[in-house]
């Protein structure tokens, strides 16, 4: 006997027999979840743990048995001292039933197998056989369960029902009604999570189909989550449509860097090209969802404009050592009080730590990050569009109010008091400076991934890596430390930011920091920062670590 469910506060546990083995589950657990926890996976289409259970797909049927009662309402015990069951003669759905004391479940009896086979046959009656062109193929529940529980041949002789195909149900979602199995996950998601109840089922019987309410489109910022939860290929992402088959994709667990929420994601890439980003379940951050804005904000990774080689005073300098050495030498030639650093809230903690080290090495006192804000919502999207504002504050790169020092930088440059500027992963023109101001500087060192007004004026341009191309950690708005992972390699000669910063610092101090890998940087950073004490990239794990920090927002 094992107790699979562990809950922090003591709750009432009930005894449930699953396939002959007795387990204990907290009261209120759904039978389908209890079976999963007991290692008996129940196939399902309409059931989703984050949504309500309508019980309309009938796929999760199991045999249930109530404890046999003696006439005096006592459970009748078998020879092993456990209650006997009265099995209900028809299969029951397991997604809408909570566990109760003495409940018996059979997940794999011949009746259950027959029921599943029958349900699958009905679901497949009108389903087109177009797996070769269907984007869902490879991660399609209908395919998987047909293999596992269904039968190989169709007995259906009539013509299949024709429904609308290739419908642009929203700006980012394409609908194929013929493939739909009417599980209504999308309908419930839009109603319950996105609070934008625009889709529903129209018509009757075999002609039922998913449709948008008249005059509306599926244009919610969370519309692509319906694609994720659609168990078949009915809802597909217009952005990912026909781009790549899913079985080629290498999946890397990472986080979204488009706002301070830090939704957990999976980056899917093949041969150094990212094809899509999908949410990853993390009940402390994003449940199982993410917004369309963050999800699609990766195409710039493969922009033809990506910066590929260091540029020193207008000339390409493919020799990194040389480029970094000249940048450091020219920075050292300027007095410390004439230098300012503009860092970015998009940098990882490790990079921010190294930025602080560089500033210390140069003797620079004036540094800050550029705040980015935009309208947010009360679901996931944060108004703070810098993913690591908390990290910048913690590591002392940002002013206590991000951006407070920027006006001093602007004034210093305009008055000529500041002669050198280091801009890291930012566009200085967003900090109040103009392109004309930047030309006044004698030295402008910048790291960037795409060209902007700052890179155009830069004396030393050092191309760096984007979020999917590097490892590191970030702290979200709730003080949760999370981890970025490398899904692809940086293009051309572009380098990881931490290597550039280490190179600059070492060139300035003319001594080695002894950092050979990002882990060394993390070790130094956690040793120097009390709030991060004892942590490492591997200890952060896939789901992150909550830090004892005041909430940022």
């Amino acid at each position: 006997m094992s107790t699979e469910a562990t809950t922090p506060k003591p709750v009432e546990l009930v005894n449930v027999q699953i396939d002959g083995v007795w387990h204990q589950f907290p009261k209120g657990t759904r039978v389908i979840e209890a079976c999963s926890q007991a290692g008996k996976f129940i196939p399902r289409y309409c059931y989703h743990p984050k949504l309500t259970s309508p019980g309309n797909c009938r796929m999760c049927m199991v045999e249930l048995g109530m404890p046999k009662m003696t006439p005096d309402r006592k459970p009748e015990l078998g020879p092993d001292g456990k209650p006997l069951h009265n099995w209900i003669p028809r299969p029951q759905i397991s997604c809408a039933q909570d566990v109760s004391e003495g409940l018996g479940v059979r997940t794999d009896s011949s009746m259950v197998q027959e029921a599943r086979k029958g349900v699958l046959e009905f679901l497949l009656i009108n389903h087109p056989l177009d797996c070769p062109i269907c984007d869902q193929a490879g991660e399609c529940r209908l395919q998987e369960f047909s293999y596992d529980y269904g039968q190989a041949k169709t007995r259906f002789l009539d013509e299949k029902v024709k429904k609308p195909k290739r419908v642009e149900i929203g700006p980012r979602v394409t609908l194929d009604d013929e493939r739909c199995i009417l599980c209504t996950r999308c309908v419930r998601f839009m109603r319950e999570v996105a609070k934008d109840d625009v889709i529903g089922i129209v018509d009757r019987g075999s002609y039922s189909s998913i449709s948008c309410h008249p005059g509306k489109t599926l244009d919610s910022n969370y519309s692509l989550n319906t694609v994720d939860i659609c168990p078949v290929g009915a809802l597909t992402s217009t952005d990912f449509r026909f781009k790549m088959r899913v079985w080629f994709l290498k999946e890397t667990k990472s986080i979204c860097t488009s706002c301070a929420t830090g939704c957990n994601t999976v980056i899917s890439a093949r041969e150094n090209i990212v094809y899509r980003q999908t949410p990853r379940e993390n009940n402390d951050v994003n449940q199982a969802w993410m917004c369309d804005y963050g999800r699609l904000n990766f195409h710039y990774l493969h922009s033809p404009e990506r910066l590929l080689s260091p540029v020193v005073r207008g000339h390409e300098q493919p020799d990194w050592k040389n480029a970094i050495a000249t940048a450091a030498a020219e920075l050292k030639a300027v007095a410390p009080e004439q230098i300012a650093v503009i860092a970015s809230g998009k940098m990882t903690n490790e990079e921010l730590y190294l930025t602080a080290q560089l500033a210390k090495a140069l003797g620079v006192k004036l540094h800050d990050i550029v705040p980015h804000t935009d309208t947010g919502d009360d679901i996931l999207l944060s108004t703070d569009r810098n993913p690591n504002t908390a990290g910048a504050k913690l590591l002392g790169v940002s002013a206590s109010t991000p951006g407070a020092n920027l006006s001093a930088v602007v004034e210093g440059i305009r008055s000529g008091a500041i002669k050198a500027l280091i801009v890291l992963g930012e566009d200085a023109t967003l900090a109040g400076l103009t392109s004309a101001d930047l030309t006044k500087l004698t030295v402008l060192v910048t790291t960037a991934i795409l060209p902007n007004a700052t890179t155009a004026a830069a004396t030393h341009l050092l191309p760096s890596a984007a979020f999917a191309e590097k490892r590191g950690s970030m702290i979200n708005k709730n003080g949760r430390l999370q981890r970025l992972n490398r899904a692809i390699q940086p293009p051309g000669l572009a380098r990881d930011d931490w290597e550039i910063l280490v190179g600059l610092t070492e060139a300035v101090t003319e001594s080695s920091l002894g950092f050979n890998a990002i882990e060394d940087v993390v070790k130094a950073m956690t040793a120097a920062t009390p709030a991060l004490a004892g942590l490492s990239l591997s200890k952060i794990g896939d789901l992150g670590v909550q830090l004892p920090l005041p909430a940022n927002e």
Partner: protein, 176 residues
């Protein structure tokens, strides 16, 4: 440890070798004589003689993309051949058929389809795995080129080599 190889005891005839020499000459000169009289069947003289007309029906030559009777290239860019190809010779870039096209129902087609004939091992798995009966190994076996680029069979070349393959299942008809 030295090991003494056991040697067979030889007869006198064997010791002087000459009878064996004559016996050997009899065999080789017999072959020579048969050859001179044209009685020996020697191997096929390529390129004057070729296998072409004698190739068995299951012969596996170069993979090609076939078209159906209606002029549609049967491939829908499902990329299963790309997946199964053991030497990774196949590269496909899928694309969407525009809605106004007469084959719009099929939705998907290969924008680019490339088979690297330097890599191809003629195993035929692509033909076997294809759910659309779109890729067939034809009987061309003399695939040569003077550059790497010439050995990359692009879509146009593959379609031209494939030609029209009648009599396969028409899956994308009005009933489906």
């Amino acid at each position: 440890m030295a090991y003494q190889v056991p040697r067979p005891k030889l007869t006198f005839a064997e010791k002087i070798y000459l009878p064996s020499v004559i016996a050997g000459l009899k065999i080789t000169l017999g072959h020579l004589w048969r050859m001179l009289r044209g009685k020996t069947h020697v191997c096929m003289q390529y390129p004057e003689e070729k296998w072409d007309s004698h190739l068995p029906p299951h012969y596996r030559g170069a993979p090609t993309l076939v078209s159906d009777e209606f002029g549609r290239t049967r491939c829908v860019a499902c990329q299963l051949c790309e997946f199964i190809c053991p030497p990774r010779a196949i590269r496909i870039k899928p694309g969407e058929i525009p809605a106004e096209n007469k084959f719009a129902k099929v939705e998907k087609f290969p924008e680019e389809f490339q088979i690297d004939m330097i890599r191809c091992i003629y195993c035929g798995l692509c033909e076997e795995v294809c759910p659309e009966q779109a890729i067939f190994l034809k009987k061309e076996y003399a695939i040569t080129g003077t550059s790497r680029a010439a050995m990359m069979h692009q879509k146009e070349k593959l379609i031209e080599m494939g030609g029209i393959q009648p009599g396969v299942v028409n899956k994308w008809n009005e009933k489906k």
